[in-house]
Symmetry: C2
Subunit: 371 residues, 2 copies
């Protein structure tokens, strides 16, 4: 392994702000990673994504290995060149999507065999194959171990078995990854919402030693309260100096609450997905632009954001585009949402650095009117 | 009326290149106008459209009067402010769409009553109402008279009656338009593919006197040869010093052939529509990016175009986006196509200015492999 330098600049309670230094660019933490599932952040050019302040993107191994294929991306020079993103990229291992999207899957200790949701073709994903795809073919900067992530709620035995299998796969992933310059390997803590299992998973993985630790298997229906409890049961068992990445989270309030509990990295499809469905995010929650009250509202979404989508178009115009089901509605709202998310992260970093994050969290909770 | 200065800089045969000087910006001719039907050039930001070199957009009165409504756009400051386009805008009169899109329509000398294709609501469009919508509510720079445009082929009597009605409506439009600073009124020559009717229409409209002359009712299924014959039967009857605008045309080869016959302005949905369907235009015709031969083609669409969509992404990547039905495919291909169209116009202008347009047309015809 070859971890990137991670310099923690300030802490407040469990929250911390810092900088990850990678050869492809610096990443300020806490960081939100826009999701570029199929080698594109849906609807946006890489330059537009970069303009929001995003320092790192997430790519989905499952989608890319099926289309256009990992070998093809490798022949085309890797994922960065293929999609025109020169900054760092984190890839997931494919495990979560295999479990939730693939048509038929057979799991054993070796790995998981599945049929593509696109064309029914058969594939085998093992810890070693996932590492090879991510690290060698896609050329990912942050590589994730293959894990098993059971849907919650699930029986304790099932959750424990998945955690144990993920642990075994973490070791195989580390062996397959070996020593690499300029690429980092993250393990994934599992264990559902059981504090004991989470603790055991975290301790065993830390004992093995990884560049960073993802927290997987959350935001899958357990609810915010249980998710935050689980973070509190997990993060104290992770090393202070290593990165913590909460996978697939979340709404703005989730980000604030999780940063308060020590999370450094996030990814979520929400800003782009809700943007494609006529929703814009702000500190109070989502705004549904389809609502008739915006018909003649000449205000922009957020004039303080340095993003054309947030600043240069009236809500009346956005309302019209949403009603008319125009492509530009999807583009502008996705872009605004990413700009809002990046700005929220920047405000949190600033609050932590200035020792006023506690007040920030209180104010944010008070202002939040969403779910 | 208050025509914009139109300075013809060079001519070669019937072709000419020049400059329209409007308070909202200069337009080099021959000019291609991207279509912004519903107050948006589909999928693109105004800044991206401007970056292709487009100097003027087209808006559709029919669509805008139904959604969000002409009165609403007026209250919001006009079409330019509403959609964030500061350059000139030409609007059609709504006639063509009423004839082809509205559910039920009743035409009489007064105007046309129709039901909206969106919600079935009833509307009356008259020459006077169309002028009021375009010139007063939308704030269009180039205003078009309401016309009747019969679908071809049609009986001679029907075509002649539509031409006569359009002529009567032209006079009413001129009266309704009155004297205006900084807005121009175009009449529309009708008459199907009948040279005699076209001549009669042109002469009568010229006798009335307008800022420019649109040629309507073509590119509606009559075929390229008949369309070009009709241009040749029409344009010699239009004044040399006035603008000629061929409505709804067309493919690159159509633009080249029509410029050779003296057309100054064009609009067409083709570049954006075909872009949304995976097609990219070049001098040989359309390229279908879905074709498997682009799977590993690392060339960009056109490295010589100063457009990120044309220059910065491989055809392999575009092929992937099209196959994956990604939004970004629609955005990038629409953008490339508009950049290609604008570049084609610029190359024609340059060839005319340099007295080598004849050779340009010959070479273009020889290279053209499309329909």
């Amino acid at each position: 392994m070859a971890e990137f330098p991670f310099a923690i600049a300030a802490t407040e309670g469990q929250a911390r702000t810092g900088l990850i230094l990678t050869p492809r660019g610096e990443i300020a933490t806490p960081a939100f990673m826009p999701v570029g599932t199929a080698a594109t952040v849906k609807g946006l050019l890489p330059s537009q994504v970069a303009q929001t302040g995003a320092g790192v993107l997430l790519g989905n191994t499952y989608h890319l290995m099926l289309r256009p294929g990992a070998e093809r991306i490798a022949r085309l020079g890797g994922l960065h060149a293929f999609m025109g993103w020169s900054g760092p990229i984190l890839t997931d291992s494919g495990g979560f999507q295999v479990m939730s999207l693939a048509k038929l899957r057979t799991l054993d200790a070796q790995g998981v065999t599945f049929k593509s949701h696109l064309d029914g073709s058969s594939h085998l994903l093992t810890p070693e194959r996932s590492i090879a795809i991510q690290a060698d073919m896609l050329g990912s900067d942050f590589v994730l171990q293959l894990d098993e992530c059971p849907a919650l709620p699930a029986a304790h035995t099932l959750v424990e078995n998945a955690m144990r299998l993920s642990l075994a796969w973490a070791k195989r992933s580390k062996a397959a990854f070996g020593e690499r310059a300029n690429q980092a390997l993250f393990a994934i803590v599992q264990g559902g919402t059981d504090p004991g299992l989470r603790r055991a998973s975290a301790l065993a993985l830390v004992d093995e030693g990884f560049d960073g630790y993802a927290i997987g298997g959350l935001a899958v229906g357990e609810g915010r309260s249980l998710m935050l409890d689980t973070l509190e049961a997990t993060i104290p068992h992770l090393p202070q100096q290593k990165l913590r990445y909460l996978m697939g989270v979340g709404k703005p309030i989730d980000l604030v609450e999780s940063v308060a509990r020590g999370v450094d990295m996030f990814d979520c499809v929400l800003p782009t997905r809700s943007g494609r469905h006529g929703q814009a995010w702000c500190d109070r929650g989502p705004i549904n632009l389809k609502n008739a009250r915006f018909q003649e509202d000449t205000n922009p979404l957020n004039a303080s954001l340095d993003c054309p989508a947030s600043r240069d178009f009236s809500m009346a115009y956005l309302h019209h585009l949403v009603k008319a089901e125009e492509l530009l509605a999807q583009v502008l709202l996705s872009w605004h949402n990413l700009a809002y998310y990046q700005d929220l992260m920047a405000r949190m970093r600033c609050a932590i650095a200035q020792g006023r994050f506690g007040a920030f969290v209180s104010a944010f909770r008070d202002g939040w009117a969403g779910d």
